[in-house]
């Protein structure tokens, strides 16, 4: 007879000395790993909960640095494309440039550069490639970083402009929103305004789509992530950093705050194990994001009471309006009430 028994040599499975690593042989056969899907589901649940727990523990978000920037309100903030400095404008008619790194030990927080202007500026944005930035207030000014007076000024209409943004792809294009409910597009090369769109609600700011050249979002009241502390009053402006790790916001009490965008993220250099664990958790959350329990936890945001109750109110009002629309549609002759898409509903006119 021919016989062979399975016999393992322990020397191949046990480490030789205390100073070695442990040996872990792997076999990826699915029969040795039962319950893959439920276990991964539980891991996804844990990953989502961990993120939420960390947020709770850090008093909602982690504030890193506070700068006393302007006398009066800070109206606008933007980073330079290189990421080493950022600009702020305020009610004291100045434009200041600051370093991104904090001041060293014992040093005072000083701006790199200050420009004195003639009127109050309400917004600022920096060009994506060149050393040019634009401010807005009574009109839209285009400035060069080295000069103390604007290269050119553009305006259309007699109202104040609340924010200005450069297009990341077609870098000579600017968009601005004004207080009489319009959005104006400008061309920097020709120093003229291009087109004006009048909407039925005033936009607070616009944001260009970084992937598609001619699409931008006009923002009225939508927000997804919430960053709040008791000390921060009326927030005027918010900006991401280009590495998408930090958020800066300027507020009414003349402070700029720097926040971590992902509160539960670990900053600094991660070891390869930490990276794999982080990537695995990300992928699990993505895979199971539509399951009801996980969706509920991931969507949960802790809001201050006034905002929460306001949201509830708005929701009820919106529901009522929608129900009315639906009923109108249902009980009228099919075709008599036109269905207007949500996009077109808010545009009043377009002026060339």
């Amino acid at each position: 007879m021919k016989v062979k028994m399975l016999s393992r040599n322990p020397d191949n499975y046990v480490r030789e000395t205390k100073l070695d690593l442990q040996r872990v042989p792997r076999n990826y056969d699915p029969t040795l790993h039962p319950f893959e899907v439920p276990r991964e589901y539980v891991r996804a649940l844990n990953a989502t909960k961990l993120e939420r727990v960390r947020i709770w523990n850090l008093t909602k978000r982690n504030c890193i640095r506070t700068i006393q920037a302007h006398e009066g309100f800070v109206r606008g903030i933007c980073t330079r494309f290189c990421g080493s400095s950022f600009f702020t404008v305020g009610d004291d008619k100045t434009v200041k440039q600051w370093k991104m790194d904090g001041p060293g030990f014992g040093e005072e927080e000083e701006p790199l550069h200050t420009i004195l202007g003639k009127t109050v500026y309400t917004g600022i944005d920096h060009h994506w490639k060149e050393g040019i930035f634009a401010t807005c207030g009574q009109q839209v000014d285009i400035w060069d970083e080295q000069k103390t007076s604007p290269i050119c000024s553009m305006t259309w209409g007699f109202d104040s402009i609340s924010s200005v943004k450069f297009n990341p792809i077609e870098t000579f294009l600017l968009g601005s929103c004004a207080s009489d409910r319009n959005i104006v597009l400008y061309d920097m090369r020709q120093a003229t305004p291009l087109k004006k769109v009048i909407l039925d609600m005033r936009t607070n700011t616009i944001c260009w789509n970084p992937m598609e050249a001619f699409i931008f979002t006009a923002a009225n009241e939508d927000y997804k992530e919430v960053y709040h502390t008791k000390r921060m009053q009326h927030v005027i402006c918010v900006k991401w950093t280009s590495d998408s790790k930090y958020i800066m916001c300027g507020s009414d009490e003349m402070n700029i705050r720097l926040w971590k965008a992902n509160a539960s993220e670990k900053l600094g250099v991660l070891t390869s194990r930490e990276k794999t664990a982080k990537d695995y958790n990300q992928k699990l959350k993505e895979k199971f994001q539509y399951h009801p329990h996980i969706k509920r936890i991931a969507r949960h945001r802790h809001l201050p009471k006034p905002i929460y109750s306001q949201i509830q109110e708005q929701r009820i009002m919106k529901e009522a309006r929608r129900r009315k629309e639906v009923n109108r549609l249902k009980h009228s002759k099919p075709g008599s009430v036109p269905m207007v898409s949500e996009k077109k509903k808010h545009v009043v006119a377009v002026v060339k």
Binding site: K2, K4, V24, H33, P34, V37, P38, V42
Partner: protein, 612 residues
């Protein structure tokens, strides 16, 4: 002996060469018309196991081509791709890779790593979803090939036992095997003669390193059976009906005469669970941390050992329960009853998930294999049947035994052991995936007393038998999975590794509500919810088909809501709905007629006139 390569072949022509128009300078990639390459590389050796070989689409020859060039002046080579891949690349010595390209992989092995069930049809989805699914399927194919190739790295081979010249392996005795095998394996065969404390039941821990046994008269012991180091030995002064390790070798559950007790591996009693009384059988579900107990009172109780709560106490309504086993694939408990049925239970439901009629008399033993595909049952009608669990629940094969089998056990590689009286028979199948063939037994062994407990050791070729004379450890070559995964259950783990594993296992503990017949249910598209969501969308856009409350006419003032006018208003709405329905059915009729016309491809018969 290596010769320098001829200049005309590999090296690009020098610049100071006189341009003779007659002979075009040959580039290094241009070979003579008779390549010796074909003869030098015989190709991969044929393997009778591999039916189809899977070769990846693009062989990585371009990389080696660059390496093999003699680096004189690095010239930019812009040539069409086909030319480069035409023949195998040459190295500096002129040697060629006899097995060009990555190692081929057989289809069955790659199939093992695939999880997407392509035969399932998904409901009509958006093009974005469909494209994502296609990408996922393509990725899965690639990855399954890579995983199949990684099987090369597995070090151990399974055992085997073959008789020569038509010798019947069933006639080979354990003593002969012990003589023929190496000394470490021979030491795995031992007999513990313990006649004093009654017939024994035994249990191996998850890793297969530790063994716990309990005798009917109260003797309980736990030891590391490989090193023969005793962990504890006590007498609980009560009848022991069943014994089980909990998640690791640190804790033992003993079903004693009255109640369920939990002991430490040092013999210290930790808990006495009075809610589980008169327990006959225990089963531990390792990934859910649930201890399932079946009792004489007819209750199946699930106890969560990580939090210490009873998750569910189900009344099986079938009298005394003393036949129980778990399905390791989906953590469903199988109970055998005296009316010949086997019922399947999950803690989430009060009713059994399924009931299978197996035998004409009572069922005496049930066992399920590790992949959850086959269930073996034996009953008072002296039959041993194997059922298919993952499809039709029909019997695949049956065999009449001279004496009914009171105990059944499956091994990791699909061997089936049956204990009939004091004889143990083991049947083997063709490969790992096929059911054991019940024609001829693979091995048999006679013990010194009737069998009371049977379990294959997880990662060793050993079958543990508890009988009235003590414990016997039998050698069964080819029973166990040779390559374990160190992160799941590692028989050679240290204390630190065990602690880390325990913490991770507790964090990943699957909630008891997720136990169902298909463990992959969470990853499937929830078709019911999808259809529900579709319906809700239709509703939002204007009309809602089903969820309409019966119309209640609003009571009006000024005498307008007399009974007659209410009835009139109601009738108006009903007529309108009726009209809508008729319109819809008129639209659907031509479609139905189309469908009915198609299938009559057969010969015309006299009964066709009655077909609508």
């Amino acid at each position: 002996m290596e010769t320098a390569p001829k200049p005309g072949r590999d090296i690009p022509p020098k610049k100071d060469k006189l341009p003779t128009k007659k002979k075009r300078p040959r580039r290094y990639w241009e070979e003579e018309t008779t390549p010796t390459a074909a003869a030098a590389s015989p190709g991969p050796p044929p393997n009778k196991k591999r039916n189809r070989e899977l070769r990846p689409q693009k062989p990585k020859n371009t990389h080696t081509a660059k390496k093999s060039r003699v680096s004189r002046k690095p010239q930019i080579v812009q040539k069409p791709r086909e030319r480069r891949d035409a023949e195998p690349p040459r190295s500096l010595s002129g040697a060629q890779d006899p097995f060009p390209g990555p190692a081929p992989v057989s289809m069955e092995v790659a199939q093992k790593f695939r999880r997407i069930d392509k035969s399932k049809k998904l409901p009509h989805s958006k093009s974005k979803t469909r494209s994502r699914l296609e990408v996922a399927e393509a990725e899965e194919e690639e990855i399954s090939v890579k995983a199949a190739r990684s099987e090369l790295l597995l070090t151990e081979e399974p055992g085997f036992l073959e008789g020569e010249d038509g010798e019947d392996t069933a006639k080979i005795r354990q003593a002969d095997i012990v003589e023929a095998v190496d000394i470490a394996s021979a030491a795995k065969h031992f007999d513990l003669n313990l006649r004093q404390f009654g017939p024994y039941r035994l249990n191996y821990s998850q890793t297969g390193r530790h063994l716990a046994f309990g005798g009917r008269r109260g003797h309980v012991a736990a030891l590391d059976w490989v090193t023969k180091k005793l962990m504890c030995e006590i007498n609980v002064m009560e009848a022991v009906r069943d014994i089980r390790f909990l998640h690791s070798e640190a804790l033992l559950a003993v079903a004693q005469n009255r109640w369920l007790h939990i002991y430490d591996n040092q013999g210290i009693e930790l808990h006495c669970i009075r809610r589980c009384d008169r327990v006959t059988r225990l089963e531990f579900l390792p990934f859910h941390f649930l201890l399932a107990t079946s009792s004489e009172t007819g209750f199946l109780t699930y106890l969560d050992v990580s939090v210490g709560k009873i998750v569910a106490a189900l009344n099986a309504r079938a009298g005394r329960l003393d036949v129980m086993t778990q399905n390791p694939y989906n953590a469903v408990i199988h109970l055998g009853h005296s009316n010949g049925t086997v019922s399947l239970w999950s803690p989430a439901m009060k009713e059994p998930l399924a009931k299978i009629l197996c035998h004409r008399g009572g069922v005496r033993a049930v066992a399920v294999d590790s992949t959850g595909t086959y269930m073996a049952t034996s009953g008072l009608d002296h039959q041993l049947k194997i059922f298919d669990l993952r499809g039709t629940f029909q019997p695949l094969s049956a065999r009449t035994l001279p004496q009914g089998a009171g105990h059944l056990a499956f091994s990791q590689r699909g061997l089936l052991a049956a204990g009939m009286g004091d004889v143990v028979n083991i049947w083997a199948g063709q490969g790992k995936a096929s059911p054991p063939s019940l024609e001829k037994p693979y091995l048999t062994h006679r013990l010194s007393g009737p069998v009371h407990g049977l379990q294959f050791c997880p990662f060793e070729d050993v079958l543990g038998v508890g009988h009235s004379g003590g414990i016997t450890s039998m050698l069964v070559p080819g029973a166990a999975e040779p390559n374990f995964d160190g992160l799941e259950s590692n028989p050679y783990r240290s204390r630190k590794q065990r602690q880390e594993w325990e913490v991770k296992a507790l964090l990943e503990k699957v909630p008891a509500e997720l136990i169902c017949l298909d463990p992959r249910a969470l990853a499937e598209v929830d078709v019911i919810s999808l259809e529900q969501a579709k319906k809700e969308r239709i509703e939002r856009l204007g009309y809602d088909p089903e969820s309409k409350a019966p119309f209640q006419p609003k009571p009006k003032l000024k005498g307008r809501s007399s009974t007659a006018s209410l009835v009139k208003r109601k009738r108006k709405v009903m007529d309108e709905e009726h009209r809508d329905k008729v319109r819809q059915s008129l639209e659907q009729q031509p479609q139905k007629q189309e469908k009915a016309v198609k299938p009559t491809g057969a010969r015309p018969s006299a009964l066709d006139r009655f077909v609508r």
